[in-house]
């Protein structure tokens, strides 16, 4: 492990932030109404300064009202799911550690679906119930995954898979008993979809993201030690149970957040951390921020493809991440990098 200096971390993050900015500009440029790079930069610049509001032209309105919210939602979802994935992988010392494998996404989806039945018009209720669903599933899997008082990786993965399939059955049950024309949207919504950024999806959603990532980051050094085994970490003075709880709750929170606003976008939580490990090593103090940025880039690009590949129609972003994720996964597998 290379020595970590604040300077190196900052440089790495700066490079990725630049890439993210590039992905954002690219994504903002794509759409039914053509916008030149020049217009875009001028528009963005003015928006940043806060001067562009007097007479917003059509394209600027389209960028601000349609494309930008969507790009921001992509950043939110990508960062949340990727960091949640990285966190679960560390906890389980298992490359398959991921909100999906653990069934936490399905739990969040069930929560979101229940909220859509009970409070169809409240996006706050959707968010809260997705949290509760993710949290409850996370806790359930955590306790089911224990054997002899210790968290056992295999038992945990199996418990997660069992929970995931059970909860998928619940989702399917809810969908088939309630499927009417009104529920058509939900099917797409659960596939992972950025097409309807809710007004509430900004501001404090990013605050939640920041808080949860920060909480996980405080345990980064401990996570590094735990990668070599929980017993070893325990002997080195790591409060393993506390670290696990903090990381679990934060990661469940991140999953609930992502699922409540965009549904179950697959493959991101498992792929982005692995790709980032190839470039930056597995030091969680670097990996966590880098994964957050990488996940944001991945989803912003995936959504740009989802919007433009069959324009003027669009695909759910989950379809793109799955289609792009599978070959990358296979490549990693063949190269024995997992």
């Amino acid at each position: 492990m290379k020595p970590l200096t604040p300077k190196r971390l900052a440089r790495t993050c700066a490079v990725l932030s630049l890439l993210l900015f590039g992905a954002m500009v690219l994504s903002l440029r794509l759409g039914a109404v053509p916008v030149s790079f020049a217009d875009l930069t001028v528009g963005l610049g003015k928006s940043l300064v806060g001067a562009g509001d007097q007479a917003p032209s059509d394209y600027r309105m389209i960028i601000r009202e349609i494309r930008l919210p969507r790009v921001l939602l992509g950043i939110l979802v990508g960062a949340s799911l990727s960091v949640a994935g990285a966190a679960f992988q560390a906890l389980m010392r298992n490359p398959l550690g991921d909100p999906y494998v653990l069934g936490i996404s399905s739990g969040a989806a069930v929560g979101a679906l229940l909220s859509l039945i009970a409070y169809p018009d409240s996006s706050v209720a959707t968010l809260l119930l997705a949290f509760v669903g993710a949290g409850a599933t996370g806790a359930g899997v955590y306790f089911l995954g224990r054997r002899g008082g210790q968290l056992d990786s295999y038992t945990l993965v199996l418990a997660g898979i069992i929970c995931a399939s059970f909860l998928s059955a619940v989702v399917i049950f809810l969908m088939s008993t309630l499927s009417g024309p009104g529920f058509r949207g939900v099917a797409f919504w659960l596939m992972g979809d950025l097409s309807t950024p809710r007004p509430v999806a900004h501001g404090w959603f990013f605050l939640i993201l920041g808080a949860a990532v920060a909480a996980i980051y405080t345990t980064a050094a401990d996570l590094n030690l735990m990668l070599n085994g929980e017993q070893e970490a325990l002997h080195l003075g790591v409060d393993v149970t506390r670290v696990k709880l903090v990381v679990y709750i934060s990661a469940a929170l991140l999953t609930g957040l992502a699922v409540s606003v965009a549904g179950a976008v697959g493959y991101v939580g498992i792929l982005v951390p692995h790709i980032m490990r190839q470039f930056y090593g597995s030091d969680y103090r670097v990996l966590l921020p880098v994964t957050a940025l990488g996940g944001a880039i991945a989803i912003v690009l995936a959504d740009a493809v989802a919007r433009s590949i069959v324009a003027p129609m669009e695909l759910p972003v989950g379809a793109i991440t799955a289609a792009a994720g599978a070959p990358v996964f296979l490549y990693l597998l063949r190269r024995r990098l997992l």
Binding site: G31, A32, V33, D58, M61, I62, R64, E65, I66, R67, P69, D121, S176, S179, G180, P181, G182, R184, G185, F188, W189, D193, S195, T196, P197, P199, R307, A311, P312, M313, E314, L315, P316
Partner: protein
């Protein structure tokens, strides 16, 4: 549901044909049926002579999905596997013989009292068999799965698959089903009535510019209709056309495309406009949606959800939409009513405006000359009531 079914190519060819030469296709489609009847009739005659009366118990027909079906001459028990077919049976007055319906058959209300066979996509085969139907009606395009039809066929149950890609196809389908269940007269009457109403509508709308509309199947995610659906055909008959012309049946549309295309009207279909009102008000607040002129100016038409079902009631929905989009085409008949109304109600207070009733006081307003963005166009009945 739309994923389901049937040779799309054939369906497309059929709908294209139907559009190109409606009556020719109608006649051609009816031909096998007529032949079958002719073939069957003499046999029935013979059966009076022959001791075994079961000789002509069946007739051979080709259904709308192109399958050969042996249907009993006398159909006493019918199971419908789609809401539109249930409606059709009721419209034909044959509901006494309806032995089973799906969970989604909610129109007319008494259809809900019939024995249920489950959903349209995965009905219980056992339940259908237990109802001992002489004939099962399935909707081949976009509703029932071919697997369901095959499963029933293997069990020796006659399944007639209807398939409507156009409004005319729906009328023809109604006629053919009527013939099959021995309600031919009722079928001819219904078909004649529907065609006459559509003819009258075309006379009124003749020469008027089509309104460019966005038919909203679902708004989250935004799903609209493709050009080969019967709904697109219904829109055309109502003096409208899809503002965005797309190939797939139920395309997911990018919102930005709506902003670019700026449809003149948004069209929603709903059984209760209450929910749509809420939805529409919500859309007005949404980033993106508020860039759509039709949303900004409340140019929205909420019509009966009958438009979603290829059954005789579809024509009602078409008439309703035509009135919403082209109020000026209906002025003559309404003016007479308006005169009576005016004499009864003081001019100053036009009275409460009920949803679906024509706002007579609007008639004194200048009718919009073009299909331009501004002006107190109609659809506005809904908007005013919102």
């Amino acid at each position: 549901m739309h994923r389901v079914l049937c040779s799309v190519l054939r369906a497309r060819a059929a709908s294209r044909g139907a559009r190109a030469a409606g009556f020719a296709v109608a006649l051609a489609a009816a031909a096998p049926l007529a032949r079958a009847q002719e073939a069957a009739q003499p046999k029935t005659g013979q059966s009076a002579v022959a001791p075994a009366a079961t000789v002509a118990a069946f007739r051979e027909v080709t259904d709308e999905a192109g399958r050969a079906v042996r249907v009993p001459m006398e159909v006493k028990r019918i199971v419908s596997l789609a809401p539109n077919l249930t409606e059709t049976i009721y419209a034909l007055g044959a509901h006494e013989r309806l032995a089973g319906v799906t969970d989604y058959c909610d129109y007319p209300a008494e259809a809900q009292g019939k024995p249920k066979v489950g959903g349209a996509v995965n009905p219980s085969i056992e339940q259908i068999v237990a109802l001992k139907p002489d004939l099962v009606l399935a909707q081949a395009h976009g509703m029932n799965r071919p697997e369901t039809v095959e499963a029933l066929e293997r069990l020796g149950i006659a399944v007639y698959a209807a398939q409507s890609r156009t409004v005319d196809g729906m009328i023809e389908s109604t006629r053919r089903i009527a013939g099959l269940i021995g309600a031919g007269e009722s079928g001819e009457r219904t078909a004649g009535d529907l065609r006459a109403r559509l003819g009258e509508l075309q006379r009124r709308l003749g020469g008027r510019e089509r309104r460019r509309v966005l038919f909203i199947v679902w708004h989250e995610p935004l799903i609209t209709i493709g050009r080969t659906t019967f709904i697109a055909d219904a829109l055309r008959l109502a003096g409208a056309e899809p503002a965005v012309d797309l190939e797939p049946d139920w395309p997911r549309l990018n919102l930005e495309e709506v902003v670019r295309a700026q449809p003149e009207y948004l069209v929603f279909a709903s059984s209760h406009s209450e929910a749509i009102r809420g939805t529409f008000e919500e859309l007005r607040e949404r980033p993106g949606w508020r860039l759509v002129e039709a949303v900004k100016e409340r140019r929205v038409a909420v019509i009966s959800d009958a438009v979603n079902r290829p059954a005789p009631r579809l024509v009602e929905a078409i008439e309703q939409l035509a009135r919403e989009l082209h109020p000026e085409a209906f002025e003559d008949s309404e003016k007479r009513k308006a005169k009576i109304e005016k004499s009864a109600v003081p001019r100053a207070s036009p009275g409460p405006l009920a949803m679906g009733s024509f706002p007579f006081f609007l008639l004194s307003w200048p009718a919009p000359r073009t299909a331009s963005v501004s002006g107190p166009v109609r659809g506005l009945v809904e908007a005013a009531a919102l």
